[in-house]
Assembly symmetry: C2
Homo-oligomer: 333 residues x 2
Amino acid sequence: MINSPYLLFLGDAPDQLAIKVAQGIRDWRPESVVGQLRLPGCKADAGVPDMDLVAAREAGAKTLVIGVANRGGVISDSWKAELHTALEQGFDLASGLHSLLNDDADLVTTARAHDRQLFDVRVPSVDYPIANGKKRSGKRCLAVGTDCSVGKMYTSLAMDRVMQARGMKATFRATGQTGILITGDGVPLDAVVADFMAGAVEWLTPDNDPDHWDLIEGQGSLFHASFSGVSLALIHGGQPDALILSHEPTRTHMRGLPDYSLPSLELLRDTALPLARVVNPGCKVVGVSVNTKAMGEDEAMRYLEGVEARMDLPTVDPFRQGAERLVDALDAV
Amino acid sequence: MINSPYLLFLGDAPDQLAIKVAQGIRDWRPESVVGQLRLPGCKADAGVPDMDLVAAREAGAKTLVIGVANRGGVISDSWKAELHTALEQGFDLASGLHSLLNDDADLVTTARAHDRQLFDVRVPSVDYPIANGKKRSGKRCLAVGTDCSVGKMYTSLAMDRVMQARGMKATFRATGQTGILITGDGVPLDAVVADFMAGAVEWLTPDNDPDHWDLIEGQGSLFHASFSGVSLALIHGGQPDALILSHEPTRTHMRGLPDYSLPSLELLRDTALPLARVVNPGCKVVGVSVNTKAMGEDEAMRYLEGVEARMDLPTVDPFRQGAERLVDALDAV
């Protein structure tokens, strides 16, 4: 568990795209953020107060979160002085970069000297069990996609926000690097060893109150040749009561696979639901979440109405419209 | 690649069950075995000549393969003197045990001193790529099961033997520990990190002659809550042209999951085939392999005939009847 609140480290980010992780944290867990730390030359802004390390410590910050990614996902040399100073001043460090804080001998030495922790959220920190498939109490909702990166995490976070506002019992369960940095914990599922994938998801979504919902962050797609195994482990480990179908209608091929077209929402439904019912015979598809970012407002609304009529399911773009109708659908399960 | 031929190490095995790995190697790769090494108290016999290390070296043996498993899968203290002597005399060591040769500091020291290799086939030795889903030349056959441990490896090895005898181009592709020790190489798929599972299977089954068949060792089951993700990665990474359905008819529940019943062969077919067609639209289900070990001869024959009529597919127990009819079916693809 990463200690919050956070100071977001934007480094010398060349543009706004480079701070996607920081923006995700600011958008979804603003209460965990005291400010941002920018180095000279930084051209990005997460929209929170600029602070140096001393001011952030005074404001209560416990962890400096690397909210910036550069090409290659390495720890930039230009960041290192500040990272060492942060450890010396009592911050833990957290990172989702490909190159690991814990592989940097100098940072490890400084962290040890000051009794600080280095969190690499790409690396599993738990010995997960092998899944046992036993029925657990509480309810679970999983977003499954026609493709990777179609808005599954966003959908679950948006539903979580609505449920918290309504006073419902709900927990967003992160399964990817950005999600883990947003919530402070979770399972980096794509880095888990094959035999333990489903067990890691069971571990992440344990027994709970009968009226509690886990909102499980989806990964990959059953139709994505590279990552489908991860998606199926999520379905079988997650034991979902409710599935949300996620889609991006303007994509011309599967992400990273130019020879593969996307499945229809109907095919996704007819593939995912029987597989989910292997572990939870009561599972239902309750709604559709569409990422219409690449469409104009009218086009998007027409598209959503068309899908809703065709699929006979509440269909929304949670970014444009909020996730209220998806939560309503969940509430009826 | 593990150097052959092998000397099979049976240690102080208490019974025949404990040397399953040695028996698998002897059954399927007799040409790779010069003999067996038994310690005092050994109650098992792999049916090959007893040899000491010196005699086995003279007979050409290059690797001492640990063909025995004890409770917990550890390297027994009573074996260690012989393992050190083997390294000193020029043997490599290979093991599929849970505890690793490479984690035993003494063995590592001895191996280094004598320039010998320690092969732990449970541990991936390659940085596998992420799957790209590109169509590869050559053909591939994958056994998919209603459950784990229903005879998928046995089926593929039996088909390989028939194909070699017929002079067909075929390669058994191992994806599990025993299979790797039998063939000398392969991918220990259950130990591969999630993101790279399908890529590891692509790596294992590369472009080949148009009339060459890879016989891919199946793992798990799409219906097994603990391991289904591995099974789907095999389907999507393996890009099979042909599927063989594998089943064990007397099992009362999924292996290790008392609350789960087995799917029917029809449901397995209707689930696996559409998923396989995502990556290979021409994929076909060509036959059924049934493990009838727990049935009498008459009962087994009646069962096989019943399945054949019901499924309209060649249906055999390759152990009782050989795999000729499955290979015939493959030949027709």
